[in-house]
Symmetry: C2
Subunit: 293 residues, 2 copies
């Protein structure tokens, strides 16, 4: 697995894949004029763990291997220290097979549970919540100067989010540096691709932060906590349960981050307010106009 490097600032930047991620679609606008629109692709990708078909995800299709690894990891199907012997993507069949040297815990679990419930969807969700028990994140401090610097840089990085819309971006950050910028049709895929990259590259999580364009729902908060990342920020809103989980696991949660404004929903005691908000410029009107909804 090679890491592309199309940007001086990011280890992986947005739009960094060579594959075709958008397509020209013709429409007719309100005045009756033909318009050519740059529209994001969306493709099915079926993820296997050894001989076991796990899920079909709808994805933009840029990092199938990372998506598969990160999805399996975030679902608790790949444990710490699992010996991964191969990650094989077949573009034609639209499949990724992740191979491990031993039978994974999940395969045992699934075999048992399918007999009682017949369907892994509930199981999958149950496993995610189960994985959270006992999780306490490191009490890493977060500086508002870093938060503002990250938001400013991310919001001005050319991305599919800015050019084609209908997509979510999630960025793995360290201090005031954005490291890996993943985009996908679903915000969960973007996070899973980051988890897959971290697993591949054996990246430590305790000093990182996730920034996302998407909402802070329970699933986003759970994924971030399972990845061991102690801070999560978003320009969008949040749900009550997302906030509750963040408080339980010690995740610093920042929502509605736009220009100088933000709300800290959990982890106020870990936030170092070292910047006067009045010194931060307001966000230009057009920023983020094409975001997914």
């Amino acid at each position: 697995m090679t890491v592309s490097d199309k940007s001086d600032d990011y280890l992986i930047g947005p739009l960094s894949s060579g594959r075709q991620l958008t397509r020209l679609v013709q429409g007719v606008d309100h005045t009756g004029a033909l318009v050519d629109l740059n529209v994001v692709e969306e493709r099915p990708l079926t993820i296997f763990l050894n001989a076991q078909e796990i899920v079909t995800a709808m994805t933009i299709g840029d990092y199938p291997e990372y998506l598969a690894l990160g999805f399996l990891r975030n679902q608790g199907m790949l444990r710490d220290g699992e010996n991964i012997t191969g990650v094989d993507y077949d573009e034609e069949l639209e499949t990724v097979v992740v191979r491990t040297s031993s039978t994974t815990t999940y395969e045992d679990k699934l075999r048992k549970k399918t007999r009682t419930s017949g369907c892994a969807v509930g199981t999958v969700f149950g496993d995610m919540m189960e994985g959270l028990e006992g999780v306490t994140l490191p009490a890493t401090k977060l500086r508002t100067s870093d938060l503002y610097a990250l938001a400013a840089q991310i919001n001005t990085t050319p991305s599919l989010y800015l050019t084609a819309g209908a997509i979510h971006g999630t960025v793995l950050c360290q201090g005031n540096k954005p490291l890996v910028y993943m985009e996908d049709v679903g915000r969960h895929n973007a996070v899973d691709k980051i988890a897959g990259w971290m697993l591949s590259e054996k990246v430590t999580a305790a000093d990182k932060m996730l920034y996302t364009t998407g909402r802070l729902t329970s699933e986003m908060v759970i994924k971030c906590a399972l990845m061991g990342i102690p801070a999560l920020a978003s320009r969008s809103g949040f749900t009550a349960w997302g906030v509750e989980i963040a408080q339980q696991v010690g995740l610093t949660l920042i929502g509605r981050m736009r220009g100088q404004r933000f709300v800290c929903l959990a982890g106020e005691d870990r936030l170092i307010r070292d910047t006067d908000p009045a010194s931060v410029p307001d966000e230009p009107r057009k920023s983020g106009r094409k975001g997914a909804a």
Copy 2:
């Protein structure tokens, strides 16, 4: 199942449920001031079909029975003319059990497929695409005067979308009248609740339209087509595959509808352009500011 009627205009309006859908959450804003925020709830709901556990959905929780019925219907697990003998919601257990008089096709299918694939997630998606084969929607005309009237009314209706944000709204419409306005954390839930209501009330689909605040991804387009509704409009963007499926099944697809602007992506020949866009007021800046992302 009774239909609430809190609005003179809607059969079911937003915020029309008596249950608690938001919670006050305390945060600290960018200036360090404590703020009380009205935040949407998000609860797990496990859906059973007879003795079979099917899925755990994350939902705001207002219409669990409609959500269960609509989900099963849109997944092709309840066929036309299925004899539904009961829909039982247990608030404490967070479950809905949908009962049919005979064993459903799906239970047979599931038993077979779990043996080969072990997981219903892929199966469920496979079934949705399978259900689309041979679907051709009625060539119902759509007037731009109706489109503009609907958007204006929906965008000014008080809703969770406008007050708490982080939520999606989907509205079932007929002519220039919005009928049923459902909201939920996930845009798919909002559509499924409408499908459940239509199934309960035996509502015809051929003269209806769906308006959604969410993106027009493949799943949204597929659900709309499976419901037999010939038109789908959104204020948000779209994916290439969503557009392709709409063209295949004869769905009139309208995207990026804001103020006088919109793009017709499929079904231009069924669109009656009876309004001069210049006569339509531009959308006020603040509208939809709190939408989900």
